[in-house]
Symmetry: C2
Subunit: 248 residues, 2 copies
DNA sequence: TAAAATGACTGGTAAAGACCACTTAACATC
DNA sequence: GATGTTAAGTGGTCTTTACCAGTCATTTTA
C-alpha cells in the first residue's frame, strides 16, 4: 500500500506524508470539518519526527486542505476551498478548465522595439533585450473568445519560433520545457473597454460591444519579468475567475 | 536598537527576525537581487538556531520579499514583487489604496430570505440562518464608483446595526472587532454588464454604459462562509487589480 | 591544455527533546 | 447548582545536531 512512508524514496518524507494525507482527505477518509489525528499521533503512526509531521501539515494548510486551531486540533477544510489554488493559468489551461477546447490563429509574430509602457512593464532599462511580439486570436470550441497581444522578454540564448507556437499553443509550456522557466507570479488588471472596428471584426461582434480587458505582467521563479500580455475578452462569452487569500 | 532579537518579547523570535530582515530589505540595506547573509551566518549574528532562522526566511519568501536558490543562497526580490501580497481588500481599503476617500449611502438594510443562488453561495442548506442584506452606493472622493449588494451570513448571537455600518463604513473591520471573524479566503468573478436604468441613475451614467460586475464569496479563518457580495463598478472609473502566485 | 575530482560553500531534509499557550472537560469547592 | 481549579490534550515555538544535495572555484590528473 502506498499509504506508508518509504525512507529510500527520493521524494522527501514530509512530501510523501502530505500526499498520503491529501489522498485521505480527497477520498473522504478524513471528512470535511473533522479533525485529523493529532501531530503526536501521526508521529507514532508514521514513525516520523514531529517537525517532519508539521512540515507536511504546513504544506497542506497553505494548499487549503487543512486548517489548524491552537489547542483544539487540525481540521479538514470544506471541499469548496480545496481545489484550484490561486491559479496562474495560461489561456490554454484556462479554456480547458472551463471545458472548452483552446484554439488560436496567429495574427502577428516577430521581434519589435518595445513601447515605453511595455519596456517599463518588463523592467527593461535599455532596449537591449529582444522583445518578441505574438498577437493571436484565441478560440474556445472554435468560437473567437479573446484577442491576445503578448510581449516576451527572452534571454540571450533563448528563442521561440512560429512553428513551435503553432504546434504547442501554450507559450508557458514551451518556456518550461525548453528553458526551465516557470511563471510564478503575476500582476493582473481588469477593466472594461468597447470594441474598436478592428477588434469587433476579429471577434465577430458589433462595433462598440463591451469587452473585458485583462493585462498581465508575468515573472519567473528567479524574479525576472517574462511577459507582458493584454487579452481582450468578449464581454458576452467570458467571465474572469480568481481565488484570493489573506494570510499574513 | 530594534535590530536585535528580544527573547522576553511575546512576539516569536522568528517573527521578530522576519521583521528585522524585511526592514533591511525595504530601506535598501539589502539591495534587490543581492544575496542576504547565509543561514549559518544569521545563526551566529542573531544567536538563533537554524530552524528559527529558516522559519523567518520561509515567511519572507512566502510574502515575496526573498527567494532561495539551492546551493547558491537567498536573494532579495525586486521591489515590484514585494508590496501588496495577494490582497483581499474591502471596498474601503481598496479606495484608500488608490488614494481616494471612501464614502457610502445605504440604500437598503434588513434581514431577508436568501435566494437560491445566494443560499448556495453561502453554503446554507436550510434557510435557517439569518441573512443580512446591505445595499449601498459607494463613493470615491464623493463620486459614485460602485453599487454594492451584500448578503451576510451571521451566526446565532451576531448582529450588525445600521448605525454601526454608517459609522464604520467597513463591515469587515466590524466583524473583526466585534466577533473576531477574519476574512481569509475568497472566490471572485469579474464580468461585463450594461447599466440598467436604475443602475445608471444611481451611478450617474447613461443607460447601457458598460459596467464591471465583481461577485465575491468570502470565507472566514474557520472556513465558514461570511458573505456573498456583488459590486457593480463604473467601467469608466474603475480598474480591478490582483496579484497572483503559483507555488505548488 | 582540457577534463575530472576535490572541497567549501549554499540551502534542503530530518530527528529528538523541551517548554509555552490555548482549549476543554472533569473535578473540587463554595 | 454555580463557580473556580486542575489536568490532559492540542498546536506553537525553539534548540541542538546531523547529514543530503546542489553550486562553483580550485586543484589535480590525464
Amino acid at each position: 500500500m502506498s499509504s506508508m512512508i518509504d525512507p529510500a524514496n527520493i521524494v522527501p518524507k514530509y512530501y510523501q506524508l502530505a500526499n498520503i494525507l491529501r489522498e485521505k482527505i480527497l477520498n473522504g477518509e478524513f471528512p470535511a470539518q473533522d479533525a485529523i489525528p493529532s501531530e503526536r499521533q501521526l508521529e507514532e503512526q508514521y514513525n516520523l519526527s514531529r517537525p517532519t509531521i508539521r512540515q507536511a501539515i504546513d504544506l497542506l494548510e497553505r494548499q487549503g486542505y487543512l486548517y489548524r486551531v491552537h489547542g483544539k486540533g487540525t481540521f479538514v477544510s470544506p471541499p469548496k476551498l480545496q481545489k484550484g489554488m490561486l491559479e496562474l493559468t495560461s489561456f490554454s489551461e484556462d479554456m480547458r478548465n472551463r471545458g472548452l477546447e483552446p484554439g488560436q490563429r496567429i495574427l502577428d509574430f516577430g521581434y519589435v522595439v518595445p513601447s515605453a509602457k511595455i519596456a517599463h512593464q518588463l523592467g527593461l532599462n535599455a532596449p537591449d533585450g529582444q522583445v518578441l511580439r505574438i498577437k493571436r486570436l484565441r478560440y474556445g470550441n472554435d468560437e473567437p473568445i479573446g484577442l491576445q497581444d503578448s510581449y516576451l522578454a527572452l534571454g540571450e540564448n533563448q528563442s521561440i519560433t512560429r512553428d513551435e507556437i503553432e504546434a504547442k499553443g501554450s507559450i508557458y509550456a514551451m518556456l518550461e520545457q525548453k528553458y526551465g522557466i516557470y511563471p510564478t507570479e503575476a500582476d493582473e488588471t481588469l477593466e472594461v473597454t468597447l470594441a474598436t472596428p478592428e477588434e469587433a471584426d476579429l471577434l465577430k461582434i458589433p462595433v462598440g460591444s463591451p469587452l473585458l480587458l485583462n493585462e498581465r505582467t508575468l515573472w519567473s521563479q528567479d524574479r525576472k519579468a517574462i511577459e507582458f500580455v493584454s487579452i481582450l475578452y468578449r464581454g458576452d462569452r467570458y467571465k474572469y475567475f480568481v481565488r484570493l487569500t489573506r494570510k499574513w
